[in-house]
């Protein structure tokens, strides 16, 4: 239980950040225009990620999948930001 919960809290935080980040940077217009909406959504997303982490069969899988997805999303966001594909 604990391992899955912690996976939801820590890598889950990064995963939620990646999700909200990608959405708010891909959204038409500057990202500054939707900061508050993104912050409100972040908490909802994070709660759902923590809850969903318990769908994994064990802690190791939860950590692996959530960390992997977080890396993918944040990496993609940073790459797009670095290439100036999104503003």
């Amino acid at each position: 239980m604990w391992a899955r919960g912690l996976a939801g809290i820590f890598p889950g935080f990064l995963l939620s950040a990646g999700l909200v980040g990608i959405l708010s940077w891909l959204w038409p217009g500057p990202w500054q225009a939707t900061v508050v909406v993104g912050l409100v959504a972040f908490f909802l997303v994070w709660m759902c990620v923590i809850g969903s982490s318990f769908f994994f069969a064990n802690g190791r899988r939860a950590w692996a999948w959530i960390s992997g997805a977080a890396l993918l999303l944040l990496g993609g966001l940073w790459l797009m930001q670095w290439l100036h594909w999104i503003e």
Partner: protein
């Protein structure tokens, strides 16, 4: 949807433990939060002469503004002020001194002090609501509790989802008490899910916004978040002082101009509530007037003016504002129940009490499901949880009512002697709460529950009596004079006292007639 039995077990365990851990703090947050809905009414209720004194006019408020700006150079940089109106009949002005401490001044206290005037009771109840009364760390604690609350809602939904439609309106009274409590818990939980979800998200947001913004800033905003915030949060543009002094502008001009601008932009009405004034007296001084436009989910909008000339600089009004301002206004209004008339507030009060009851019933369910049916001796864990639930939850109800009574007695004494009303109220509240917990730890749970419920009934009934005796504003006099804010607090206390008495009688009945072999039987 079909769940694997192991998954179902995992989520049931998760829901149980998150619920028990967060439930205590959530009970406090909901009970105190229900009362905090009447924040402004409580200030009038605490103030011994509020009802006798006439409401301030804009001219009175102007005198306060002039005097504050003359006395306190720090206030010239940035100052905030409440317009005297229905919510706060007397003008209050506030600013940060050189050290960054907020100071509040009124006509009775021009020098300013760190505590808002006559607000000790409402501040205490509010602090219980957002921090269980623990300074600094309590806010973060409540933020974490809000997150756990969200996780509890998520897991509760997962468990209940397969049976949600067929069990929604099932409430099965009968011999199986656990089934009855479970049905009640489920139906209340599902029907009030939107409200709970809203409070979990906005609660976490209000408590953890700062730390989460610090973490997200480098992660997804390329460290540009702080630079973006002023435009996101404020309406008025930042203008650096010109260094030339000019005509400062007057409250009545800003008041009238903001209404004129709002109506011109299509608002049906606009009632200025407070203002923020930057660089008072400078040629580049800016005033931001925030006011209410009824009929919007986020009723608070703002008009930013050049303070000297009254020229419009920017507006963020319902229907014509950007996504950020619309989100802030509606998030706050949803959390605080400020998007409608008095009925919305009354509804929030009832929903707050209902929420508190949901957490209380969750703990009862925990105890009931671990009951040993065939033996008198009960396990230690259910016994301890029963004690803790009774002491902390019913104890809080006693403590809040004691704080109300103490407020009236202390305010009355403060008229003749020099005493610290605010710390007296805190001592009364936390002292009586600790005593209740001690009492519950020493007595058998069912006796403690009955005795503390009667104590809550008596202390709550004393609330209107103390108010009447101390100030002369008995509730029939308040009603006759049309002071409905005072009347409803006193009348609400009487209704709650009857509620506590009914619960006390029910507990006694359970102890006598209910199934034996329980921590709730004698």
């Amino acid at each position: 949807m079909k769940l694997k039995s192991t998954t179902l077990r995992t989520f049931t365990t998760l829901h149980t433990w998150v619920g028990v851990v967060a439930g205590f703090a959530l009970f406090v947050a909901f009970y105190a939060g229900a009362i905090t809905v009447f924040h402004h009414e409580l200030q009038a209720w605490q103030s011994p002469h509020a009802a006798d004194r006439p409401q301030h006019s804009l001219a009175d408020a102007q005198l306060l503004l002039d005097e504050t700006l003359a006395r306190h150079p720090a206030a010239r940089k940035h100052v905030g002020m409440l317009f005297p109106g229905e919510e706060s009949p007397h003008a209050v002005i506030y600013w940060q001194d050189e050290k960054g401490t907020w100071l509040f001044a009124t006509q009775d206290d021009l020098q300013g002090s760190e505590k808002p005037p006559q607000a000790a009771l409402s501040e205490l109840i509010n602090a219980l609501h957002y921090s269980v009364g623990i300074p600094v760390a309590g806010t973060y604690l409540m933020g974490i509790v809000s997150l756990l609350y969200g996780v509890a809602l998520f897991s509760g939904l997962v468990i209940h989802l397969p049976k949600l439609t067929q069990d929604l309106f099932a409430l099965r009274p009968g011999r199986n008490l656990k089934r009855f409590w479970q049905d009640a818990h489920n139906v209340i939980g599902v029907l009030s899910l939107p409200m709970h979800l809203m409070f979990a998200v906005t609660g976490a947001l209000l408590c953890l916004m700062l730390v989460v913004m610090l973490a997200l800033n480098p992660l997804i905003y390329r460290s540009g978040l702080m630079a973006a915030l002023p435009a996101v949060m404020d309406t008025a543009p930042i203008r650096s002082p010109a260094g030339e002094s000019t005509h400062r502008g007057t409250l009545s001009m800003w008041h009238a101009r903001s209404i004129e601008v709002a109506l011109a932009q299509g608002q049906v009405s606009f009632e200025p509530a407070y203002l923020k004034l930057a660089n008072a007296g400078d040629r580049n001084a800016v005033v931001e007037v925030t006011g209410q436009s009824p009929g919007a989910l986020g009723p608070l909008g703002a008009v930013a003016l050049d303070a000297g000339t009254g020229a419009v600089l920017a507006t963020q009004l319902p229907g014509g504002r950007d996504a950020n301002h619309a989100a802030i206004a509606s998030t706050f209004a949803l959390h605080f129940g400020e998007y409608g008339n008095a009925w919305v507030k009354a509804l929030y009060f009832l929903m707050g009490l209902g929420g508190a009851f949901l957490f209380y019933s969750g703990n009862l369910l925990w105890v009931e499901s671990r009951r040993k049916r065939r033996q008198v001796e009960q396990g230690r864990a259910p016994l301890n949880l029963a004690r803790a639930t009774v002491g902390a939850c019913i104890g809080l109800c006693v403590a809040v009512s004691v704080a109300f009574v103490a407020t009236q007695l202390l305010e009355m004494t403060a008229g003749s002697r020099e005493i610290n009303v605010a710390s007296g109220i805190s001592w009364a509240c936390f002292g009586s709460w600790a005593l209740c917990m001690l009492w519950a730890a020493l007595r058998p749970p069912v006796r403690a529950a009955r005795e503390l419920l009667w104590t809550a009934a008596v202390t709550t009934l004393l609330v209107p009596i103390a108010h009447g005796a101390a100030t002369g504003w008995w509730l029939w006099r308040s009603a006759a004079a049309g002071h409905w804010n005072l009347f409803w607090i006193d009348a609400g206390a009487i209704a709650m006292a009857f509620g506590f008495a009914a619960l006390a009688r029910a507990t006694a009945r359970r102890a006598r007639l209910g199934e034996p072999n329980s921590v709730w039987s004698l």
